[in-house]
């Protein structure tokens, strides 16, 4: 029971701290990351229920979800972390867009 209440406290604390985040771009990026993780779990879960034939479509979807999630996470880190304080933020967005274009092109080519 103690552990449960501790968990609840931790979750509430994290939620309160997160609500302090005011930058709409960061919130949007976080929602996108959650969306990617959800797609990943949905695809893998679906593959256990239904047959896995065309395997390359499943792999394209899985790796695209992982890839876009990683890219969004990298963008978020580049915008918020202290390590990258002096770096240009617009550059980070441009890199993210270029990398996303490449990744989506490759995944869509591999899918059928």
């Amino acid at each position: 029971m103690e552990t449960l209440t501790e968990f609840k406290d931790i979750i509430n604390k994290v939620r309160k701290e997160y609500n302090q985040e005011k930058n709409p771009r960061i919130i949007l990026i976080d929602k996108f990351i959650v969306f990617c993780v959800f797609i990943l779990i949905a695809c893998i879960g679906y593959s256990f229920i239904m047959p896995r034939a065309p395997l390359n479509s499943l792999l394209a979807a899985v790796f695209l979800a992982m890839g876009e999630g990683s890219l969004a996470m990298s963008l978020r880190l580049r915008l918020t972390e202290d390590e990258f304080k002096g770096e240009c933020k617009t550059k980070a967005f441009v890199h993210f867009v270029l990398a996303s274009i490449l990744m989506c092109t490759v995944a869509l080519y591999y899918m059928p």
Binding site: E6, I10, K13, V14, E17, L55, N56, L59, A60, F63, L64, M66, G67, S70, L71, M73, S74, L75, L77, R78, E81, E83, F84, G86, A92, H95, F96, L98, A99, L102, M103, V106, A107, Y109, Y110
Partner: protein
């Protein structure tokens, strides 16, 4: 005294400023000269013989490139080759690494576009020397990125341009995957270190694109996809993991895996083979680690310790269970070649075809000295400096060096993967030693006055800061780091020992250049299909038997005829003689090769039945007994027997040995004397007498005279024997008056 001092300081200042202004020019000149050196050291065989494709495998690559150039990329990607592995054929698109052919095709197309009508053969012959120059330039960039100084870069570039193990696989004419893939390997590592140092998504994307090129070019890409995850895991263990590494690895992994699946040869191996398992595992570990680090900031210390232990044990158990399940149920499989790397005795016990290739044998001490020469001395020094003053790049070099040494010891072919690591580490070592000695010499000649002490103190402070902040500050300095240099406390070594040591190092490196030139000229430039020897009056005699026989076959046989020979020569026969073969160097069908081996190992009648069953019209064998050519089929016969024995246990290896000895004379066993290989090789050889010192029918390679009874062939007819008896072509007799009942029947 003061005037003299001011004068010498002034001239020193002028010299220093001149040196600094000329620095980029000097570096560029050195790199250009290194490129030219790398090119010219590889074209000995073109000058001595002619511009020709060497050995065995390059002939297949050349044939595929010709199809690409003549018929376009779609025909090449979808090509089903009916001329090899008769009657099975071979789908070329999904079974070949297309990077090399695509590169040559691109060069050919570009050259034709700008008005140089270069023949595709010349593009193929010279592509490897050109890429060695690219490789040297990339190694310079890689070493510079690792150490943030140009000195190691320049040393590494000159070392890799002429290191003998790289020359052996990239001479002009050796049109093989390694020629372009070593360049791709170093490029991937350079871009990886750049991504780790900057934490930029763009560099990680560039790294994954170059990894895609590497996957397209060579099967050795599995080395990269294992060493980068191991490096990231190692960084986690030594607590040097930061967000830049996280960004670099996540982007590289996701994009690299997706791109690797585009190559048909790799395709689903990305998720199904055990070689990629490390990359998947480390990706999830990294995500978990970052999550845990983030949570650590949110909870108190005791809570964190309690939960972390719990979660860690559960996740480790889960991972272990998944790994064991995957391995036991065969969900993921190690390929045979990878198993050989982990357990060197595996191939000899289970896969004789892998064990029979001479390149797959373990390396010896002498081969290390022959292949990397003087770098063996400097590499441990470089390794030492990687550990005492580590940057992210130098840690990676050290890891790469240690792993590649292990693999080079297991298989001599992988000395090639060890070569770039050796060159970079040796470059670091040599540069550090030479820099320290020259700095101490400079101290002797130019007495630094007191104002200079302050910068050194600042540099000492920098040193302690750098060690604490894990290089993040260095990244911020940006372009300034070139002037600050890595903080070295300038020691003063005794004058005489510095000079002597510098001379010794200079001598060793000069001897390295001489050794490399000698190996390139004498040891590694032989095209294998043309050989040279000295005549009795000292003139050079060219032995061109291979092309003689292949030309004869091309001109005197029907285009639909099939040739049965051992798999080594398959690529050459399809490339030069343009006839269908039964087996070639791809060795994908072990049973087919074992059947051919059984045909050679059985009696003439049995061999004839198998040859007719396999639909062969001609048989080609290599015989070196007259010309001291030791790499012939009689020497390989024992491996034919072993491979056949693996599939057909009725063939017993010991029955071919007389008292444990491999004999071909009158004392050979009956099984040996009646075998098809023996009869085809020594047919009519008893009539040949080399000289008065040797008896008739003397086999110079086995050093014994064969049984003098003449060999009469019933089912085969000799149609061609080359000038020095090296290649012998026999026609398989077919009954002209009736339909052959043996053809098409099962054995």
């Amino acid at each position: 005294m003061d005037d003299k001092r001011i004068h010498s300081e002034k001239s020193y200042g002028l010299l220093k400023s001149f040196g600094i202004s000329m620095k980029p020019t000097i570096q560029l000149t050195i790199l250009l000269l290194v490129w030219l050196l790398g090119f010219f050291i590889r074209i000995f065989s073109v000058i001595r013989y002619e511009s020709i494709i060497h050995e065995f495998d390059p002939w297949f690559n050349y044939r595929v490139t010709k199809v690409l150039v003549e018929h376009g990329p779609y025909k090449f990607w979808n090509w089903y080759d009916h001329e090899s592995w008769h009657p099975l054929g071979r789908p070329v698109g999904p079974t070949v690494f297309p990077g090399l052919m695509a590169t040559a095709g691109l060069f050919h197309w570009c050259a034709h576009m700008i008005g140089f009508p270069v023949d595709i053969r010349n593009v193929c012959v010279f592509i490897a020397p050109v890429f060695s120059g690219f490789c040297a330039a990339t190694t310079y960039l890689f070493a510079k990125e690792c150490t943030h100084r140009e000195g190691p870069g320049l040393f590494s570039a000159i070392f890799i341009a002429i290191v003998p193990s790289y020359i052996s696989r990239s001479v002009a004419g050796s049109y093989d995957n390694e020629g372009v893939s070593i360049f791709a390997l170093v490029l991937v590592f350079y871009l990886w270190i750049k991504a780790v140092n900057t934490g930029s998504i763009l560099w990680a994307m560039a790294c994954s694109l170059s990894y895609f090129y590497m996957v397209a070019a060579w099967g050795g890409y599995s080395f990269i996809i294992n060493i980068i995850p191991i490096y990231v895991l190692g960084l986690i263990f030594i607590k040097k993991f930061n967000m830049k590494v996280y960004i670099a690895y996540s982007v590289f992994y996701a994009m690299g895996s997706l791109l690797a699946m585009q190559i048909q040869f790799v395709n689903l191996a990305v998720v199904k083979s055990s070689e990629h398992l490390a990359s998947h595992g480390v990706f999830f570990i990294v995500q978990g680690y970052v999550l845990v680090q983030w949570l650590r900031q949110k909870v108190t210390k005791e809570q964190f310790e309690k939960y972390s232990k719990l979660i860690l044990t559960y996740t480790t158990i889960a991972f272990a269970l998944v790994f064991v399940y995957a391995s036991l149920t065969g969900l993921t499989k190690w390929s045979g070649r990878s198993m050989t790397l982990l357990d060197p005795t595996y191939a000899k016990k289970y896969i004789p075809i892998i064990a029979s290739v001479s390149e797959h044998q373990p390396a010896t001490w002498s081969s290390f000295y022959m292949d990397v020469n003087a770098l063996v001395i400097f590499m441990p020094i470089g390794l030492y400096f990687c550990y005492i003053r580590p940057t992210y790049g130098m840690l990676f070099c050290a890891l790469y060096g240690v792993f590649s040494v292990y693999f080079a010891c297991v298989m001599i072919r992988l000395m090639l993967v060890f070569a770039p690591a050796c060159c970079v580490l040796a470059g670091i070592g040599a540069s550090e030693v030479v820099t320290r000695l020259t700095k101490s010499l400079k101290q002797t000649f130019i007495e630094e006055n007191d104002e200079q002490l302050e910068p050194i103190e600042e540099e000492e402070k920098e040193a302690s800061e750098v060690k604490g902040n894990k290089k993040s500050k260095k990244g911020k300095k940006g372009k300034k780091y070139q002037q600050k240099k890595v903080a070295t406390i300038v020691h003063k070594y005794p004058f005489i020992s510095s000079v002597v040591l510098l001379c010794v190092i200079g001598y060793i490196l000069c001897s390295y250049v001489f050794h490399s030139t000698w190996t390139a000229a004498e040891a590694y430039s032989s095209p294998s299909i043309i050989m040279a020897s000295r005549g009795p009056t000292g003139e050079k005699v060219l032995i061109d038997d291979y092309r003689e026989a292949y030309d004869w076959i091309r001109q005197n046989t029907d285009p639909a005829d099939k040739i049965m020979s051992w798999w080594d020569y398959g690529y050459q026969i399809t490339g030069m003689a343009n006839r269908t073969v039964l087996a070639d160097g791809n060795t994908w069908n072990n049973t087919h090769i074992a059947t051919i081996g059984k045909a050679f190992a059985s009696t003439e009648e049995e061999g004839y039945k198998i040859a007719r069953h396999l639909d062969a019209d001609y048989v080609l064998i290599i015989f070196g007994g007259l010309s001291y050519y030791s790499g012939d089929d009689v020497s390989k016969f024992i491996w034919m027997i072993r491979i056949a024995q693996g599939v057909y246990p009725e063939i017993v290896e010991s029955s071919y040995f007389a008292n444990g000895q491999y004999r071909v004379d009158a004392q050979a066993t009956d099984t040996m004397k009646n075998s098809l290989m023996y009869r085809l090789a020594y047919h009519r050889y008893n009539e040949v007498r080399m000289s008065y010192q040797h008896p008739a029918g003397f086999d110079t390679v086995r050093n014994m005279a064969i049984d003098p009874t003449p060999i009469k062939l019933k089912y085969f007819t000799e149609v061609y024997t080359t000038n020095r008896w090296i290649l012998r072509v026999y026609k398989v007799n077919k009954d002209p008056n009736r339909e052959d009942p043996v053809k098409g029947s099962l054995i």
